[in-house]
């Protein structure tokens, strides 16, 4: 078996929000300094349960691998612009990324 590959511990920020916000959330992530992101279509239910339009595609899930500082910047921007009026969930965990230095 080969030597284990070196990995870098990074923050993974996950945002689940209304699909109408997609373009804006992506812009927010980029502005906060993220180098990339992965986007998944999803749906869900929460305490609020209101959607702008059922046929705009329910929810979107964005995942981005970033440094701790960028993670904070993303969450702060989210809190400022979206948490009051929009159905947005955001959380952070840590993952070990191969070639992780590419993403910071």
């Amino acid at each position: 078996m080969p030597d284990p590959l070196p990995t870098v511990a990074l923050k993974r920020v996950t945002i689940v929000g209304e699909a109408v916000l997609e373009t804006r959330l992506v812009a927010l992530i980029r502005a906060a300094g993220a180098k990339g992101f992965t986007r998944l279509a999803c749906s869900g239910e929460g305490s609020r349960g209101v959607r702008a339009s059922d046929w705009e595609g329910a929810n979107v899930k964005l995942e981005t691998l970033v440094s701790p500082a960028v993670a904070d910047a993303i969450l702060s921007a989210l809190a400022r612009d979206y948490f009051e009026h929009f159905a947005v969930v955001a959380y952070v965990d840590e993952v070990h990324v191969v070639r992780g230095d590419k993403y910071i």
Partner: protein, 320 residues
């Protein structure tokens, strides 16, 4: 054809029956909802097809004939959100954002209701101006802009006007509708080539779409409790007021009996495709449960079943 026969004709059309099937399916919790991708594709198809049909006729119509209806459309589009807003604020005591959001929906137009009206008239054998669907695009947009402006006037506006405008004008539904009009008007006789796709199967595709709309409308019914009595009354009476005004204006603008019916239906209908998206972004503090439930779960079925024959009756009375 007498009035009752017309109502029967409308209620037992495949489209209205399809809508009813969707409601029944949702009530018995049967999952007949189309996949997201198909709903969205079908919606794009319908918008394009409606535009295309309008565009083909537009290409044939003398420009002079158009000016009256076009002015009427813009006039109604710019003013109807005002009286809706006033009613919602004055009688309904709703907050500014909610009132403006609902006014945007009722000032704008429901493309599917519009189409159902055309199908109704075809079945009843009543002719209408072919360019009407080109007018839909001009009624869809202004009301949304006016209503958002009404709210922003009073609330602390972080809204970027340019962006809002861009989003409404270049929104998916408007662009496909206008794009269809352009393709139809520019391609002239060559448009015949695409009729077996965009024209012949249109009503069947609409029937399938309406099954899905029925499911969505039924799902909203649960929110009726949150809506409150006033809004239920508004959602069922405002269309009649707007329809009567629309019939009057359409008649004055020189539209035929059929064209007047279509115009009245357009004015009476409430948007649930373009408006919700624009309003969600521009007026996030408005409660979607209010504007979606009233337009989709109440006004839409009301117009589909009762409204259209009523507006036709009004138009006939005006033309008599």
């Amino acid at each position: 054809m007498d009035a009752l026969e017309l109502v029967r004709l409308n209620l037992l059309s495949p489209m209205v029956l399809g809508f009813a099937l969707g409601i029944v399916a949702a009530l018995v919790k049967s999952d007949v909802k189309l996949p997201e991708a198909l709903h969205s594709g079908l919606s794009a198809y319908l918008l394009l097809a409606i535009g295309l049909k309008g565009g083909i006729e537009l290409g044939k119509a003398p420009l002079g004939e158009l000016s009256g209806p076009l002015i009427a459309t813009l006039a109604v589009g710019l003013t109807s959100p005002l009286w809706c807003f006033a009613t919602l604020r004055g009688l309904g005591k709703l907050g500014v954002a909610d009132a403006a959001a609902i006014a945007a929906h009722y000032g704008s137009v429901s493309v599917v209701t519009f189409t159902a009206c055309g199908t109704f008239l075809d079945a009843a054998g009543v002719a209408y101006e072919g360019f009407m669907s080109a007018l839909v695009a001009f009624l869809e947009v202004p009301a949304i802009i006016v209503a958002i402006f009404l709210a922003r006037r009073t609330t602390a506006g972080t809204a970027h006007w340019g962006e809002t405008l861009r989003e409404v004008v270049f929104g998916k539904s408007n662009l496909l509708l206008l794009g269809g009009v352009a393709i139809g008007a520019l391609s002239g006789p060559a448009a015949e080539q695409v009729k077996p796709f965009f024209v012949d199967p249109f009503r069947g595709a609409l029937t399938l779409f309406l099954i899905d709309m029925g499911v969505l409308a039924a799902r909203r019914l649960g929110d009726l409790r949150a809506t409150g009595g006033f809004l239920v009354a508004f959602a069922l009476l405002m269309p009649l007021v707007n329809g009567a005004i629309g019939a009057l204006v359409g008649d004055l603008a020189g539209l035929s009996l059929g064209g007047t019916t279509v115009f009245a239906t357009m004015v009476a209908s409430a948007s649930y495709i373009a408006a919700p998206v624009a309003v969600r972004i521009a007026l996030p503090e408005a409660n979607p449960a209010l504007y979606l439930t009233s337009s989709l779960a109440l006004t839409f079925p009301f117009n589909l079943t009762v409204g259209i024959p009523v507006y036709h009756a009004i138009a006939r009375w005006l033309h008599a």
